[in-house]
């Protein structure tokens, strides 16, 4: 069961990713959140088995941004969080790249724009 969560406040970015993911049938379940707070409360609410395989997490969001979400995740009792988390951003600031290394929960950093091939490569079973 492949579940993808997208946590990003940019509606256009979400639109394109949603389209790419659905038209390529890349996942079974695709859920979007406008900010870290909404993503966080859902993660808290659901059963372990319902957790996503992959979270694409934006940095700059209102209410709770990417870093805040990661902080909360780190302090949560994690018992093998199987979810892979990738940080996405349209900013090329090296300071963000350096900061991302501070979070062992993060398995990577993706720069926007994301192409169709990028998304497919990310979600194909051959990972």
């Amino acid at each position: 069961m492949k579940r993808l969560w997208l946590i990003d406040d940019d509606p256009i970015f979400r639109y394109v990713v949603r389209h790419l993911v659905k038209s390529n049938n890349l996942v079974d379940d695709f859920i979007e959140f406008e900010n870290g707070e909404l993503g966080w409360s859902e993660l808290n609410r659901i059963h372990l088995k319902q957790r996503p395989n992959l979270i694409l997490l934006d940095i700059n969001m209102p209410v709770l941004n990417g870093w805040g979400f990661l902080d909360k995740l780190t302090s949560m009792q994690n018992d093998c969080l199987q979810t892979k988390i990738l940080l996405i951003s349209s900013s090329v600031a090296e300071s963000d790249q350096i900061k991302s290394k501070q979070y062992p929960l993060l398995q990577g950093f993706i720069n926007k724009p994301i192409s169709e091939s990028d998304i497919c490569a990310l979600l194909q079973p051959s990972e």
Partner: protein, 406 residues
Amino acid sequence: MVAAISQIFKNFALNTEAKVVFEEMNTKLIDITQSEYGFIGEVFNDGTQDFLKTHAITNIAWNKETRDFYETNAPEGLEFKNLKSLFGHVITTGKPVISNNPYEDDRRGGLPEGHPHMGSFLGLPILLQGKFIGMVGMANRPGGYNETLCQELKPYLSACASLIEGYKLVKQKAEARKDLETSVLKLKNQNEKLSEFTYIVSHDVRKHASNLKMLVEMHDASNKSEVMQMIASTTNHLFTTVDYISEIIEVTQKPSLRRREINLSELVTDIFSSFEIELKEFSVQLNIEESITIMAEPAYLNSIFENLLSNAIKYCRHDSKTIEVSAVIQNQTALITVKDYGRGIDMARHGEKLFQMFSTFHGSSDSKGLGLYLVKKYIDSMKGKISVDSSISLNSYTIFNIEIPI
């Protein structure tokens, strides 16, 4: 006398307030001439006339009104504008005035009502390198003033001249510092505004450009109308420009903080490897001394060679696809040359504007003219130099000569 004068200059050197030092000098003058009261003053011009402004003046206030006036105004200096008077005569003629019978003196201007008796008056000019800058005045020496006394006072007058000039310079320095502080504050504010602005560019503009790119790519590739193709192309240009701007911002805003020792040969080899596909039909020669290491921001050094290599590939000729990079050390400097045998640059026409923003020389629509500008900016930040030698003749070539201190 020498002791007295040197004491006064000692105080000046110790940054004692001007007021205090001039008071000391005034008191000294009055003492040694056995006068009753006196002043030291500087001459200014208010646009219409010269006038006297005191640096020190004995308090001879004779009633409450004058006492209040003295207390309020004397510290800043009293101003005297009526030059038709004994002291005024010193100012208008630049010469000493001795008057031992002031009330009968033609040059007198009269004294305000209530003014203490003036039995005798001496006014002496203060000259700085021959220029009249002020005067001292005193009154009521028992027996009157004379020429001999004037001579004796010469060293004091000379000292007064130095003090006036000295404190003037101190004041100018303080004002200059204040101006500087104001400018620095202004600059700080502007920098903050600029930071805000650049943040908006690198985040928001880039975000929109990125979204456009993604939206355009969503459009069915096989069905792209002409207009759609042009939108796609324009979006790519927009995105590249925004990226360039972000790069420029990075270079100019942040001084290279992440410099480290980089092996030049390794760096160049890596870059050429990453261009493997584009370089398929090229003959590449790298002659870089293995020992050359440059202390630099890796991203900058990468950018320099990526830009130059891109250009060499882009502007090649069908019949000569050779790129040579060599580097040697000479006098603590790495001398690097990047040579290609492509179309060349018309140096006569474009030489001067080569490294300026938005200079392009080949009219090819996909060059935005920011590459060489950035290259130069990066080299500048490493305190290096870059120059170009190029020919557009039959055997055209372009050579970039770079010097980077090690």
